[in-house]
Amino acid sequence: MKILVVEDEPDLLRLLAQALRESGYAVDEAADGEEGLYKATVWEYDLVILDLLLPRLNGWDVLQRLRKVRRTPVLILTARDAVQDRVRGLDSGADDYLAKPYHLTELLARVRALIRRSAGQAASEIQIGPLLLDTRSRTVTLSGAAIQLTPREYSLLELLALNRGAIVTRTQIYEHLFEEQEESFSNLVDVHVSNLRRKLGGDFITTRRGQGYLLHD
């Protein structure tokens, strides 16, 4: 899962990115409105966390322009907590609104909920046959037995699970799993997939040569 954080306060940006990364998300950062809009338009993020008071282009404008091209979920995170600001933010196309200062745990919960809902998944647990994904604790059990996965492997499995029954392309996997600064080798995805297959056993993940991967429902 990849999240774009648009925040002009350097400390907050750093902290937020670190917290999200520690929660297993790939995080891209943008320090002003223009940069944020550019990245959100070009890449396909699972969520955009947007401040409102931004240099160059304010949050409302970013949101309005983004909504013309993308349906990416947007969480507004701002110091402006007046009711009219919340209403304006939500009406401009935001999916959620959180005022600073916020509790990190609440922010992370909202992030999970937004990503889940945008994938059409209401519950926090995903059950596929004997496989059970708990998106809250980011754990996987197979027929009741816990399976140890690296964060990246879990993210890959969650991506496939949220899109189960459909082909997930390699490009999609790159975009959702790897940050822009990361040096990703083209075979990194194959390595993660083969590791997953080894840990899960069976044939949960099917390879469609030339297209991508598929997790059967």
């Binding site: 306060e9 670190q18 520690e22 240099p55 600073k100 200062p101 509790h103 745990t105």
Partner: protein, 550 residues
């Protein structure tokens, strides 16, 4: 007395009206009284005159002879060979019964009523008795009077008889006396001693006038004034009633009018009452308001305008201040929560504490700035004035900001004159102005640029901070000294500014009686100038400097 405008208006208005009406009524009443007295006197004198004339005409011979030869027929005076005017004759004491009464006599002897309606009435309006007869005038006749039916007198209308008379002979006996209602009173009178002139005597209900007539007769005219007095009293009463009604009407009308006048004031008060902190956008409607009240409404509206503006500023300030405080708070909270999410290494914990410390420092700076401004607003900021050298202030500020300038890659130039620039000021606060301006310049100057502080004392002591930074667009210039105003939202924040630096400079400069201004254009850098007031000392310094230069 009540403090109500309406009541007071009415009270004064009613009082003045009452006084005016009392004065006016009294004047009219006194004038009427005087008129009455004058009229009574004039009538009495005229009657006296007529009586004397009649006597002279009727008695060419001494009255005593007349009396001695007085005929029994009262209608004629045989001695004179001429008939006396009937008017003079009827009031004589009743003739002896043997005399056959004429129609005229019969008429006069009938009683008081007819007597009152006869002769004397003429002196009240028509020709007085004893006057020479005029043709066609029925009142005066010589010779036997016509039959009663033909006499015009009873047909006349007028006030009742008020004129009566007595004529005494020289020896004190009565020659003639009218027989009016006061006959009894007149009968009791004695002949007064001779009078050369008309004399007056005022009794309770009458005016009596005396005159020496022909052949030492004494004439007295008795004019009853009780009727006039009654009339006068009635008149006075009418004045009082009409005056009272006028006052009542005027006061009631005044009450109504005052109510109408006061109504717009009440309306203004009502509107003003509805204007509160949450509804400051309301204004008093001046259309249709009385001319005198428009300035009042205007002044109130202006006050509301200012109040609304101040409230808006305050709200904005509070929002800005809370926003500024909230950001470092958010950092501290997020940092701490993140640190606690999972076990960390010592370095990570140190980083966490460092971040928290930085945020706390930033908050402290902001709170200090806010407090300084608040104290300035509340007039609680006291300057510790001392004679200081502006060069020291600038030098210290430069030293203080050298590190920041080095970090930002900006060259800091401190341009100080040879001579001291002395003025009365608070050194720490002036130092804060210099530091804020320098810090502001460093923040807005790109790497490789220059920030320069210049102290001069050409005319007045001056401190100038210029930078080679990005400059400020004209539309922002008027507002750069406003609190939390930022030319570029959040740019200053990232560079550590809190948006209060210039506001504090402006406030501190004002406390020193100095002015601060900014010249700038985009791309050309900015020049901030603090100009201190000219004092005797600074004037002298300027002279000394000029002398040295020349």
């Amino acid at each position: 007395m009540t403090r109500s405008l309406r009541s007071r208006l009415q009270w004064w208005y009613g009082s003045i009206l009452t006084i005016a009406l009392i004065c006016f009524g009294s004047l009219v009443y006194l004038r009427a009284q005087q008129d009455m007295q004058e009229r009574a006197l004039r009538q009495s004198l005229a009657t006296l005159e007529d009586l004397a004339a009649g006597l002279r005409a009727a008695h060419p011979r001494p009255p005593r002879e007349q009396l001695s030869s007085r005929p029994r027929d009262v209608q004629t005076t045989e001695a004179a060979g001429q008939p006396l005017p009937a008017e003079l004759l009827f009031p004589l004491p009743p003739p002896p019964p043997p005399v056959a009464p004429s129609a005229n006599d019969a008429h006069h002897h009938e009683g008081d009523g007819p007597t009152r309606e006869s002769g004397p009435r003429e002196s009240n309006g028509g020709p007085p008795r004893g006057r020479p007869p005029r043709p066609g005038e029925g009142g005066l006749r010589f010779g036997p009077p016509p039959p009663v039916g033909t006499r015009p007198r009873p047909a006349r209308r007028g006030p009742p008889d008020r004129l009566e008379f007595v004529v005494w002979n020289a020896d004190g006996s009565r020659l003639m006396q009218s027989r009016g209602p006061a006959a009894e009173q007149l009968s009791a009178l004695e002949r007064p001693t001779a009078f050369p002139e008309p004399r007056f005597r005022q009794t309770d209900d009458a005016l009596q006038v005396f005159q020496l007539g022909p052949r030492e007769t004494v004439l007295l005219v008795h004019r009853t004034v009780s009727d006039d007095r009654a009339g006068l009293h009635l008149f006075g009463g009418m004045i009082a009633v009409v005056g009272g009604l006028t006052i009542v009407t005027a006061v009631l009308g005044g009450h109504w009018i005052a109510g109408r006048m006061v109504r717009p004031i009440n309306r203004i008060a009502d509107t003003a009452a509805t204007i509160s902190a949450v509804r400051l956008d309301q204004r008093i409607e001046t259309a249709g308001l009385e001319t005198e009240l428009i300035p009042l409404a205007g002044v109130l509206n202006q006050t509301f305008e200012r109040l609304q503006h101040s409230f808006a500023q305050l709200t904005q300030f509070t929002a800005d201040a809370s926003h500024e405080l909230r950001t470092p708070l958010a950092v501290i909270q997020a940092q701490a929560e993140l640190a606690l999410l999972q076990p960390r290494t010592t370095e990570q914990y140190q980083d966490t504490v460092k971040t928290c410390l930085q945020s706390a420092e930033r908050m402290r700076g902001l709170v200090d700035a806010l407090l300084l401004l608040a104290r300035g607003d509340a007039q609680q900021l006291r300057l510790t004035l001392a004679r200081i050298d502006l060069r020291d202030v600038a030098g210290e500020a430069c030293a203080q900001l050298q590190t920041k300038a080095d970090t930002a890659g900006v060259r800091l130039i401190c341009d100080l004159p040879q001579q001291p620039v002395r003025l009365q000021g608070d050194a720490p606060l002036l130092g804060q102005i210099a530091a804020n301006l320098l810090s502001n310049g460093i923040q807005h100057t790109p790497r490789g640029g220059t920030v320069r502080i210049l102290i001069t004392a050409d005319n007045a002591p001056q401190m100038q901070v210029s930078d080679s930074g990005c400059g400020i667009a004209a539309e922002h210039l008027p507002r750069i000294f406003d609190r939390f105003y930022r030319v570029d939202e959040s740019r200053g924040r990232r560079q550590g500014g809190n948006g209060l630096g210039l506001a504090i400079c402006s406030r501190l400069a004002a406390l020193h009686g100095a002015t601060i201004r900014c010249q700038s254009a985009p791309g050309e850098g900015s020049v901030f100038t603090v100009e201190f007031p000219v004092t005797a000392e600074s004037d002298q310094q300027a002279c000394e400097q000029r002398e040295q230069i020349s």
